[in-house]
């Protein structure tokens, strides 16, 4: 099992924008340690000189016309999806 500290998990949660409770932090620490321990078996595999495969379509440079496509979705429709909106804008708490 990969040792991963409570601080590491806290840092990961921060990177992931997750504000976890103390209990959840502890149980995720254990799970994540176990999972990383499991996937580490991959390090046994010799991949010297092997190119990575990021996608499996063999497609390259798929072009389309540079034109606006009208999806018939209005700004008002999208604003109604926002948890809070005012003055035709999405409203958020202060940033600073």
């Amino acid at each position: 099992m990969t040792q991963i500290s409570r601080d590491d998990v806290q840092h990961l949660a921060q990177l992931s924008s997750l504000q976890l409770s103390d209990n959840e932090l502890d149980s995720l620490k254990e799970d994540i340690g176990n999972i990383l321990g499991y996937v580490q078996q991959l390090s046994e595999l010799d991949t010297t000189g092997v190119e990575p495969t990021y996608q499996v379509t063999d497609l390259e440079n798929v072009w389309r016309d540079d034109s606006v496509v009208d999806d018939h979705i209005t700004r008002e429709q999208l604003l109604t999806l926002a948890p809070e909106a005012a003055a035709h804008q999405v409203k958020v708490p202060k940033v600073l």
Binding site: L18, I35, Y38, Q41, L42, I73
Partner: protein
């Protein structure tokens, strides 16, 4: 004639109506409420569409190949008429402003979406126990899991609520629940069906497919959904052309690594019987070995969480979905919204993804996994130089008990071991029913082909079904 096309014929000739079929589906959904396979019904919209189709038929106007056929979509497909939740709190009340291309194509052919099926939240899981709204029970044995992540879609098909249901398969999420519930499940070649409007999990392996009672029905549904879509630039140029007959004397490889003693004895036995049937049809089946397979789960649980952590970054409580109450700053808003809105498995995968993509570990995990993926693709390619298809079980066990694997994520991940390899390589794979265990639980076998050989796989599976 398939089940679905004969139903369409009966609707067209007036023996029954689209409205009657939709109402029947709603009735069956209600009768089977206890399975909790459905999260919502699109009552108003479905009945409206049925009435419209019936009117067109009455006027003698042309209607599509699926006119009046009710279906269910996994609740990660954006669709009108009900919320699209991904079985998560963060999207609990989300009303999609657009529909998935797959849904649009089916509607254009006259099919009618009657409801949304349960899943593991954001399709993270293999049992549908990770749904934020409660688990789905297996269609054959209510003490067992439905499988997952497309558990609800498999169960509504097995219970005959609708003739077909849609699912997504990123690492087995269609094939495994299909096998657990005794129905046909299709994972097409990556890029055959547009992913547009389906909530993204792992973009490099996400595929769209379906559940049906027989192979011909599945082929029909896939034919309608497939094709290039300008809204999904990873779709391949059109290639899927169903064929009537399988070419004689196919050469098929039985994957040795999936037939070891670790695999349930009944599962192995049913697979062996299917192999014997293939031989009896004049095909050659030989054992093949892919040593790289033992590493595929490791690759999968690096690559997929990495893509998940990116794809799920958009759920931030700003533009749509849940927003946590009582927060003062933006950072708090993100953190609390995501904590409340995601289930534990979502958080595990997001955090694993953050880990393997972080600067100190990127090469050791993510890059190593993508290189290993190349070795997997090469191993498949080498086999497909000799073999027309590969065969093996879908899952090492039949449906497991509710709660049995819930506490141990790795045990749960191991249930995917036979389905993730084809996903990482973008290959088409069918899960077809192959009988039951001594306890009466369904077993599925998996037929895997090279990329874009979907039509050949269907032809082979159809010929087996006929015999």
């Amino acid at each position: 004639m398939t089940h679905i096309s004969s139903l369409v014929a009966r609707i067209k000739n007036g023996e029954t109506t689209a409205r009657a079929q939709v109402e029947l589906a709603f009735q069956k959904a209600q009768d089977n409420h206890e399975y909790h396979a459905l999260l919502s019904l699109t009552k108003e919209r479905a009945l409206e569409r049925a009435t419209e189709i019936d009117a067109r038929i009455a006027q003698g106007e042309p209607v599509g190949e699926l006119a009046g056929v009710p279906f269910v979509a996994k609740d990660n497909f954006l669709a009108f008429g009900a919320p699209t939740t991904a079985a998560s709190k963060i999207l609990e009340n989300f009303e999609a402003p657009l529909q998935a291309t797959a849904i649009e194509k089916l509607e254009a052919a006259g099919a009618i979406c009657i409801g949304k099926a349960n899943l593991d939240a954001f399709a993270h899981g293999g049992s549908t126990e990770n749904s934020a709204f409660g688990l789905t029970k297996n269609a054959v044995n209510k003490d067992k899991v439905a499988g997952g992540s497309s558990g609800g879609s498999a169960v509504v098909t097995a219970l005959d609520i609708v003739p077909f249901a849609l699912g997504s398969d990123t690492g087995g999420s269609i094939r495994q629940p299909a096998s657990f519930n005794g129905v046909v499940g299709v994972k097409p070649t990556y890029g055959m069906v547009s992913r547009y409007g389906v909530i993204a999990m792992a973009s490099s392996t996400d595929t769209i497919g379906c559940f049906t009672k027989d192979v011909s029905d599945a082929e029909l549904v896939m034919k309608i959904m497939s094709g290039r879509d300008v809204r999904d630039m990873t779709t391949l140029p059109d290639f899927f052309e169903p064929r009537e007959q399988v070419a004689p004397g196919r050469k098929i490889g039985l994957i040795r690594e999936f037939m070891t003693e670790d695999v349930d004895a009944d599962v192995r036995q049913r697979t062996t019987e299917y192999v014997e049937k293939l031989r009896a049809q004049g095909h050659t089946v030989e054992e093949v070995s892919m040593p790289i397979l033992k590493h595929t789960l490791g690759m999968y649980y690096i690559i997929v969480p990495a893509e998940i952590s990116s794809n799920l970054a958009r759920y931030d409580g700003i533009r749509y979905g849940l927003r946590a109450e009582g927060v003062k700053t933006l950072v708090e808003l993100y953190g609390k919204t995501r904590d409340e809105g995601f289930v534990t498995e979502n958080k595990r995968r997001i955090m694993i993804g953050s880990y393997v993509l972080s600067s100190g570990f990127f090469d050791a995990y993510y890059m190593q996994a993508q290189k290993a993926r190349t070795l997997l693709v090469n191993a498949y390619n080498e086999l497909f130089n000799t073999y027309d298809a590969l065969i093996g079980p879908v899952s090492p066990t039949p449906a497991f008990g509710i709660g049995e694997n819930a506490e141990d994520p790795i045990k749960m991940y191991l249930a995917d071991i036979m389905t993730v390899p084809a996903s990482l390589a973008g290959l088409p794979a069918l899960s077809v029913p192959a009988g039951v265990t001594s306890d009466g639980l369904p077993v599925g076998v998996q037929l895997i082909g090279q990329r874009k050989s979907d039509a050949n796989l269907f032809a082979l599976a159809k010929s087996m079904e006929a015999n």
